[in-house]
C-alpha cells in the first residue's frame, strides 16, 4: 500500500518548486513522485512518472474517476522501478482535485494521504477571482500553502482562503521550504469555524449533534445529500456518534459522491463525543442540511418503535 500525498495549485503557484524542495529532504529519500505535467525539474533521488489523464464519461452523465486508470497505472510503473511507500502526486495547474481524490480513495494499493494546495501570494487573489479551478483546489485542500510571500504582502488573501476553507491549515513556503513533517500528517480540522466565500458561493459548515445517529439514518442522509446536491457537494468529512455503538465513532470521508467505507474507530479521539460533520459545498444551506438530517433520524426512529 502506497500513501499518496497530492499537491495541487493553479498554474505558476509553486507546486513544482515545493515538490522539488520537499523531495530534497533526507526524510523523504526513497519517496516517489508522479507529475501531471512534464517539467524540466530534475529530481535526482526520486523516480518521476508522468500520468496522462484519461477521462471517461459514464452513461449516467456522471464523470466518475473510479474508471480512471492513469494515476494507479503511473503508481504501478513507479513501483515497478523502485518500490516506495510514499508517493507525491503533483496535479496539473488546471486540475480539478475532486476526481483525483476520488481515484485515490478507490484505487487498490493506494491510500489517500491528503491534499495540499499552493496559492501564489502575488497572483493568488486575482486567480481565485477569475478561475473556478483555483477556487475548487483551495476549497478541497487539507492544507493551503501560500507561496511567494516574500514578493507580496497579504492584502486579504489569507482571509479569502479562510472563508473558502476554514478547516485547512494555512502555512507559508518560501522557495518551497517547508518542513515535510507538516505535510506527512495532514488532517482536516473538525473544529473549524464556519465559512462562506460569497464570490465563489462555496460554504463550509459543521453539522453538530449531541444525540447519537442511527446507522441507517446516516447512510440515508449521505445518499439524500449527494442526490440533492449532486456536484455541488464538494467534500464531507467528520466523526459520527452512531446509536448502535456510541463509544466507537464512525469516520466519514467523502469527496463529492465517492466515500471511503464507513470505518469505526476503537474509541473517540478526545473528550468531545458529539457528531460533527464538516460539509464543503456550493449553495448548500446549513439549516437545510440540519433539517434533512433531523427529518431522516425521526423517520428511522419512528420505524424502530
Amino acid at each position: 500500500m502506497s500513501r499518496v500525498i497530492a499537491v495541487t495549485g493553479f498554474l505558476g503557484s509553486g507546486k513544482t518548486t515545493l515538490l522539488k524542495a520537499l523531495l530534497a529532504h533526507e526524510a523523504l529519500a526513497g519517496d516517489g513522485a508522479i507529475v501531471n505535467e512534464f517539467g524540466d525539474v530534475g529530481i535526482d533521488h526520486a523516480l518521476l512518472e508522468a500520468g496522462e489523464e484519461e477521462l471517461v464519461e459514464l452513461g449516467s452523465g456522471c464523470l466518475c474517476c473510479a474508471a480512471r486508470g492513469d494515476i494507479p497505472a503511473a503508481a504501478a510503473r513507479l513501483q515497478a522501478k523502485r518500490p516506495c511507500e510514499r508517493i507525491w502526486l503533483e496535479t496539473s495547474g488546471l486540475a480539478d482535485p475532486a476526481p483525483i481524490l476520488q481515484t485515490l480513495i478507490a484505487a487498490d494499493g493506494l491510500e489517500a494521504g491528503g491534499l495540499a494546495a499552493t496559492v501564489d501570494a502575488v497572483n493568488g487573489a486575482e486567480t481565485l477571482a477569475r478561475y473556478p479551478e483555483a477556487v475548487k483546489q483551495a476549497a478541497l485542500a487539507d492544507m493551503l500553502i501560500v507561496t511567494k510571500r516574500d514578493l507580496a504582502p497579504d492584502e486579504g488573501l489569507e482571509a479569502r482562503l479562510r472563508a473558502l476553507n476554514p478547516g485547512a491549515e494555512i502555512v507559508e513556503a518560501r522557495f518551497g521550504a517547508l518542513d515535510p513533517a507538516r505535510l506527512l500528517d495532514m488532517t482536516p480540522r473538525l473544529d473549524a469555524p464556519d465559512g462562506h466565500d460569497h464570490a465563489a458561493g462555496i460554504s463550509t459548515f459543521t453539522l453538530r449533534r449531541e444525540a447519537a445517529v442511527p446507522a441507517v439514518a446516516l447512510t440515508l442522509f449521505l445518499e439524500t445529500l449527494a442526490d440533492a446536491a449532486g456536484p455541488d457537494l464538494l467534500r464531507l468529512k467528520g466523526l459520527v456518534r452512531i446509536a448502535e455503538a456510541p463509544e466507537r465513532p464512525v469516520v466519514v470521508h467523502g469527496v463529492q459522491h465517492v466515500f471511503h467505507p464507513l470505518e469505526r474507530l476503537s474509541r473517540w479521539p478526545g473528550a468531545d463525543r458529539s457528531t460533527r460533520l464538516v460539509v464543503i459545498g456550493r449553495g448548500i444551506r446549513q439549516d437545510w442540511a440540519e433539517a434533512l438530517m433531523e427529518a431522516l433520524i425521526e423517520e428511522v426512529e419512528a420505524c424502530s418503535i
Partner: protein, 85 residues
C-alpha cells in the same frame, strides 16, 4: 427543532436554492398516515403525492422542478484495511 410544516418549508426552500429554482406553487409537509409519518408533495400542477420518506419527496421535487440537474449516487469504495469489519 421546528414542527413538521416549518421543517417541510425549510427543506423545500433549501432544496430550491440549491437547485437554483425560483419558489413556486410547490408545497411539502410532513403528515401522519395510518402507516406512520409521511411527506406530501404538491407540485405546480396541483397534484400531490405522498412519500414515506423525505428522501423520496426531495427526489420527486427535483424531477419536477430541476429535471436536468445532475444527481449523485453515493459510492463506498473498498475498505481501507482490505478487510471488512
Amino acid at each position: 427543532m421546528t414542527d413538521g410544516k416549518a421543517r417541510g418549508e425549510l427543506l423545500i426552500r433549501g432544496a430550491l436554492e440549491l437547485w437554483g429554482v425560483e419558489p413556486g406553487a410547490v408545497t411539502a409537509a410532513r403528515e401522519e398516515t395510518p402507516l406512520g409519518p409521511a411527506w406530501r408533495v404538491t407540485g405546480p400542477d396541483g397534484r400531490s403525492r405522498v412519500h414515506p420518506s423525505v428522501s423520496g419527496a426531495l427526489r420527486h421535487l427535483r424531477s419536477l422542478l430541476a429535471p436536468g440537474r445532475r444527481a449523485s449516487r453515493v459510492l463506498f469504495m473498498r475498505p481501507a484495511s482490505g478487510e471488512p469489519e
